[in-house]
């Protein structure tokens, strides 16, 4: 089952990459842009009995390794959900 994990800097954590890109977009004329964040996108295949099982496994993976909850937020999508 495919799981797609999105990791982004937490609100309030300085994100110099997001800021630089936002600045660049604005200088290209995209004045409507704000709050740009640069994160990570992790795609993984999980052997799971059900979508709920895959979700539980993904949650543990995020908490233990894929994200650092101190500085990052995460969300994920499970295939077929």
């Amino acid at each position: 089952m495919q799981v797609r994990v999105f990791v982004t800097p937490r609100k309030g954590i300085l994100d110099p990459q997001g800021r630089a890109v936002e600045h660049s977009l604005k200088s290209l004329g995209f004045k409507s842009v704000s709050d740009v964040k640069i994160g990570k996108y992790v795609v993984l295949e999980v052997a799971a009995k059900s979508a709920a099982d895959a979700r539980e496994q993904a949650h543990k993976m995020c908490e233990r390794l894929l994200a650092n909850p101190l500085i990052e937020d995460y969300t994920f999508e499970v295939e077929g959900e």
Partner: protein, 229 residues
């Protein structure tokens, strides 16, 4: 005194740390491979700088699950002395042996220069050979050294004296310009609340011989040797 220097795949400063400890200071120091479980009787474990596991995912995130880190965590829980420089600091934060995290420098650039750091707490095992407020000149070389922690935790750390080193100018004054990477509270080095684990972004192992630009790094290592007494 017996030292153990941990070598992860991608460690860079392991040999320099060994040189500083063994050749310059005459200490008994040996390399510990990350897959080993034994700390070989080390009285202080040093996690060196570098790019362990290529800094994949997050700096230190993968190294913290190396077999040796389980032993380092137990050693620290028993009160053993652990010091992490640069990437070693990042590994200690990821392993929750130190509070906070290290993120991308605010300039987005890799910084390689000499900085001034002020000793904010000279009564720890890592700073006892310095004096309170002393300014040390040490090199930094990192892309991700911006220290971050929740403001409530930072306040507690400041109160307990866990902020050990702070970036300052040559006169020992804090200023935004003297903070190379944008660290919160200009933090360059912190200890845990038991003061037996210490992490710092500067490299004391690169400041142990006058011909290489300074010897202030020796003060950190001498403090540890004195503490192990």
């Amino acid at each position: 005194m017996k030292w153990g220097v941990v070598r992860f795949p991608g460690s860079l400063d392991d040999n320099d740390a060994l040189w500083a400890l063994a050749d310059v200071m005459g200490q008994e120091a040996s390399m510990l491979w990350h897959k080993e479980a034994s700390l070989r009787g080390a009285q202080c474990v040093l996690l060196p700088g570098g790019f362990s596991y290529g800094d994949y995912l997050r700096c230190g995130a993968i190294a913290r699950f190396s077999p040796i880190m389980e032993s380092v965590a137990k050693f620290a829980a028993d009160g053993g002395l652990v010091i992490g420089t640069c990437n070693g600091f990042q590994v200690l934060c990821e392993a929750h042996l130190l509070p906070g995290a290290l993120t991308r420098n605010r300039t987005l650039s890799f910084i390689c220069e000499r900085v001034n750091v002020r000793v904010e707490n000279a009564s720890t095992p890592f700073t006892r050979a310095t004096h309170q407020g002393e300014v040390l000149r040490l090199p930094i070389k990192h892309g991700e050294g911006l220290y971050v922690a929740p403001e409530t935790e930072l306040r507690q750390m400041e109160e307990r004296g866990q902020v050990i080193l702070r970036y300052v100018d040559a006169d020992g004054r804090e200023s935004d310009a003297a903070n190379p990477n944008g660290s919160m509270h200009a933090i360059a080095g912190v200890a845990n609340d038991r003061f037996n684990v210490f992490g710092l972004m500067p490299h004391p192992e690169h400041a142990v011989e006058a011909m290489l630009g300074g010897t202030d790094g020796l003060k950190i290592f001498r403090s540890i040797v004195e503490s192990a007494g």
